[in-house]
């Protein structure tokens, strides 16, 4: 019973603190795991700049893309941003 409890606690901690995103390396997709800066049940994140494209222009971002960048920036990099300027996007692209 004790072991089960420990396993459950570890699993919950893992879910809350371990996340991942996928990065493009040429034609390959690599999964990158990381320790979240804040606990959340969200496990999958998107770094839409972990590839060989251009940095997205702030005025061309969709609502969904803004959400992905803000989430990644907060939980991966520990930066809370409202994504108001182009330099905010540049800051949040870091791997």
């Amino acid at each position: 019973m004790k072991r089960l409890l420990v396993a459950v606690v570890l699993a919950v901690v893992a879910v809350l603190y371990i996340g991942y995103y996928e990065a493009l390396e040429d034609g390959d997709i690599e999964t990158v795991f990381f320790i979240k800066k804040y606990p959340t049940s969200q496990i999958r994140f998107y770094n839409i700049h972990a590839n060989d494209g251009e940095i997205r222009k702030i005025e061309r971002l969709t609502t969904e893309e803004r959400k992905w960048i803000i989430e990644y920036c907060k939980y991966r990099l520990g930066i809370n941003t409202e994504l108001k300027t182009q330099s905010d996007i540049e800051m949040c692209r870091k791997k």
Partner: protein
Amino acid sequence: MTGMTFTTTAKAQEVKPGQSAAPVPITVNDRAATREAIIKKVRSLNATFVERSSWGALKGKPDMVMDWDYTMIALHHAGRSHSCTPGVVQMQEIQKGHLSQKYDDIGYHYGIDCTGQIFEGRDIRLQGSSVFKFNTGVIGIVLLENLTTPEEGGDWVAKGRVLLNSIGYSTINTIPAAQIDALMHLIDSLKSVFVIKHFGGHREYPGQASEGKVCPGNIGMELVRNLRAKTRLLPPPAPQE
């Protein structure tokens, strides 16, 4: 004529009776015709060219960024998980992967498989996504196999390959002659319509090495150097300060 349409611009001029009209310069703006010219040129060199529709490409997203006046070509390899398998399947898989990573379409303009078939990737009228933060004016061409040497990458995959090599199982690929010929034909065709000045491996372009890029691998880079000597193209430009 084959029913193609052209956009032209010219200034109106007044012509008095008895006078002949002065020659009017006409600006022809037809990038679609240029795309077609590239395909025709490649085929005239006896290379096989497979258009997007023929390999089952998915439609790219709307409102993609346009590009033109290309002066550079970046050579890529497909990555360490790739090998000489049929090009159609590889192009489909790469496009699927790129779309899943929020690209607007496949990132490369052209792909060449090991048999020398040339595949059309992202439409040449659109900016590629193959050189991080340096895509303007760059045509991306991918060779559809792995062109790294075992130690490249420095991670567990590299360690495994080095180990396999040490016990006599080679994981080093050679570039097929048909693929090199096709690449030469494609470069010649692109040079026939654009003023191409630079030809380089992905990792040679400004800002790429510091991002940890190994593409197109040591084997790919050897090919790049050989082709630069043959084509007399220059290496990629130095980074701007």
